[in-house]
Amino acid sequence: MAIDITETPGTDFPGETPIHQPAMRRGSEWLRPHMGWAVVGAVVGYLLGHWFGNIIYGQNTVPQNTGQNNVAIVLGLAFGVAGWLAGIGALTYPLAKLVGREPPPPVPETGWMRYFRYTEDHKVVGMQYLIGVLTFLFTGGLLAMAIRTQLLSPTTHVFGPDTYIAIVGEHGTIMMMMATSAVVGPLGNWLTPLMIGSRRMAFPRLESFSFWIFSAGYLVILSALAFGGFPTGWTGYAPLQTQASGGMDSYLVGFAVIGIGMIAAGFNLACTIINYRAPGMTWSRVPIFVWAVLATCALLTLATPSLLAAGYFGILDRTAQTAFFVTEHGGSSFLWQNLFWFFGHPEVYIMALPGFGLVMEMLPVFTRKPLFAYRVAAAGMIGVALLSFFVWQHHLFQSGINPDMRPLFMLTTELISIPTGFLFLVTLGTLWKAKIRFDAPMLFILGMMFNFLIGGITGVFLSDVPVDVTVHGSFFVMAHFHYTIMGGLIFALFGGLYFYLPKMTGKTMNRKLSIWHFWTFFIFFNLTFFPLFLVGLLGQPRRVFEYAPNLQTLNDISSVSAFLLGASFLIFIVNFVWSQWINPTKSPDNPWNSLGLEWQTPTPVPWYNFERIPVVNSDPYHYGEPGALPVADLGREPLVTAGVVSKEEAVQPGELESPDDTDDFDPRPPIL
């Protein structure tokens, strides 16, 4: 039984009115806003802001007497971001509405240029995010190689201490910014509407805004290098922040800009998940990845404002000479630490939960079994999201702040490992008596489980205050969070990409290269970071350019493996370029025989996602249940039903009836 979309509440087409006005196309393709104009806008904005800053506060120089006027830098960066957004066309709609005009209608577009524009198609935004996140990741990765080069020798230096500290700060900040959106950005945006049976996001313009401001954040944080870098690492601790030179402004503005994007993305995804579920998509049928995204959204929207406030205070201290963090004038060096970690700890779960969700989402497909303990998994992620607001002071155990509260924060931190551990209840339960297919995504799932176990258990070590006395601030902490973020989130991301790219781009990734990528990635990841636990335990603090000579062997193992890990990324890039452009192989509509709703669409997914809004029958995990209903009524045969298992029975490309053939289909062009 298919339902008529016009009669179903909440299923209206995006932008109903402007559709039949193609005549509104103004000027040439190249004159309409696109990324080129954004670059122009950013440059003009920066120069304008800088000029203005010099006018209003010309005599201000940052404390280090670098000759930099940081009022001018801050204003330059802020105007630059505004110019970037104006150039891409993000401001057109709100400004038009503000002055009471009808904004120019969106112009339909299908060509490659849409990837360089402010679009309203969540699939385009997802692909933009993918390229954006990978750009962040590879930039940060190159900087990591530089760090490991310096640490090859305990005393011989490749970089001077100022360059080294700039590299360390830049690496950490770029990676943390990337990780806030690594999975939620590309896959969260691309998949969420498809998974919940929606044609659109709740706020498509806000979604596009979140990407374009995220990309502006990349430029802002890179600009720190032009101003001499910043000496504080990604944590930006305050009195040092206050005395640092111009690069610090890039850090503060950059994090604020990224933060605004995080809040926007969080609101949009949360509203979409809550309001745009298809009929029948009850909370107990929502795919587990969507639960993960929802829990992440709670953190994105509620924790990030604390970062914005902290960054704003920092900017004021540095430019307007307020004293939020200056103790002699009534401020406190603890204030930054508190505000930063009040955001920072929820942030680590912003970086963890999407990875959990993705792994749990993919696992049933490769085990051909239902997801074990679905409700526990969903409740656990909500629990993690709640608890993560009550643990931040475990980053400050030795700081002298609230020392008598340490038992409490030790307790809350250890409590959070209960819902975190549900990841293993769910994955191990799903593996029980399964029929495991070892495709690339499955390898990454197993790799993620292996790594995250180490990451999670070392977290419990860190939460034990007496042990933390030794390992706090050392490479042990560094190894811990690389195991959770890189070993957890980034492994999940690559698994997710191998899994979903065939649907996203319609082209299969090369299997052999994928498997090579996995094994090199897994082995060199562990060889890079495991020795660092020992290095930390043996007394090497983080962010140093000199260390004890007896630690050279361990550091060198780590460095050499890090270079090989970098080479492993190259395998991915080669695979990506080869499989997507040089020698593309068309992917079947549902190559993995997944029951998931997102797979019941033709490839490439049409801009409207579903020709009819599906009516959802069940959760998508009824594998191994021959009699089970198909996951949803799509108005046609689903591609796979629960009983079907073998690859041969999957629907092949072209077998699906093209929606354009059906007479009641409205072949309207995509709305942008």
Partner: protein, 327 residues
């Protein structure tokens, strides 16, 4: 589909036609096999670790607090090993036993495969018990006298039992530590010498940005904040030298901010302290009187900020130019 949880799922599973007596027998054998492998491996690895690796875990046992940290670490490892072995053995078993290329029956779906109530409750119970034990254990270890060697702020509550406590002030500054001995006339030196067998109170503070005093082999770590006195205790047991490193990023020379300290006998210490006090007497006179915190010096390594005798709204050029009177 509604999940008929609450144990009902277990009995309901028999509703599926496949639920003959064959699968349960096999299930039991997988479970017992896994359990046996886990038990044997854990029973081997745990004692091996504790006997052979345990005594050599850094930072060693140079002081009371270092020994405490090592003990905690070992207990945590002994508990972590069975957990890690459990997960990894299970994963390896699944990979070998349940891989598709091995053939075998199609996995069974249905409510039983999706929700085994017993497994879920026992998992939650076991992890909760484990975690609560760890929190209790960690708290117990922390509230010992001396508070595990961590920074306890200006008013420590977990203090040494001994009433003879030697106070030593640690002053972090870009980019070195200096040490003041208030009970020996308040001389300030770059050498850290501590007596064996005496409780020591490190009063850690900073003149500029946040540093962190990490006396590695002593198992002491405390942040140095400007205008803040952060106290950490320990009692050195063994003679010898130890490493002090700055453990909080404090600017470009953070990596070079380290020195060696020495634990000497009580008598040697007395001699050293008295000689140094005399030798430095002329310098000590020029220092500000001993205090738990000091106002940052505008002529500090990095030029400082907000010198306290200068109007913050005055012309910027004066910043860092003149030496303010000490606060």
């Amino acid at each position: 589909m509604s999940v008929a949880a609450e144990g009902g799922a277990v009995s309901e599973g028999s509703g599926a036609p496949q639920g003959t007596d064959e699968p349960p027998r096999k299930e039991a054998s997988h479970g017992w096999r896994l359990f046996a492998i886990w038990l044997v491996l854990s029973a081997i690895v745990d004692p091996l670790y504790y006997i052979f690796a345990g005594p050599h875990i850094p930072p060693g046992r140079m002081s009371s607090t270092a020994g405490g940290a090592v003990f905690d670490f070992n207990i945590l490892i002994v508990l972590a090993i069975p957990v890690m072995i459990g997960v990894w053995v299970y994963m390896a078993y699944a990979i070998i036993q349940w891989r598709a290329s091995k053939g075998g029956p199609e996995p069974e779906g249905g409510p039983l495969a999706a929700n085994n109530f017993k497994i879920q409750t026992s998992w939650i119970t076991i992890t909760t018990v484990l975690v609560l034990f760890l929190a209790g254990f960690g708290t117990y270890e922390l509230v010992q006298p001396e508070g595990a060697g961590g920074g306890q702020g200006p008013n420590p509550i977990w203090t040494p039992t001994s009433n003879t406590v030697l106070p030593i002030q640690v002053i972090g500054q870009q980019w070195k530590f200096t040490y003041r001995y208030p009970t020996f006339g308040g001389f300030e030196t770059t050498q850290l010498v501590v007596p064996q067998g005496v409780s020591i109170a490190f009063h850690v503070t900073s003149l500029d940005v946040i540093h962190d005093f990490w006396a590695y082999q002593l198992g002491v770590k405390a942040d140095a904040n400007p205008n803040q006195d952060n106290v950490a205790f320990t009692t050195p047991y063994q003679l010898g030298s130890f490493v002090v490193r700055c453990d909080e990023l404090c600017g470009i020379w953070h990596g070079a901010m380290y020195n060696n300290g020495a634990v000497v006998t009580k008598d040697q210490f007395e001699v050293w302290a008295q000689t140094t006090e005399k030798a430095l007497a002329a310098n000590t006179k020029l220092l500000p009187p001993f205090a738990y915190t000091y106002t940052p010096d505008a002529n500090g390594a990095d030029g400082g900020y907000y010198p306290d005798n200068v109007d913050p709204y005055s012309k910027v050029e004066t910043y860092g130019a003149t030496q303010p009177g000490s606060g």
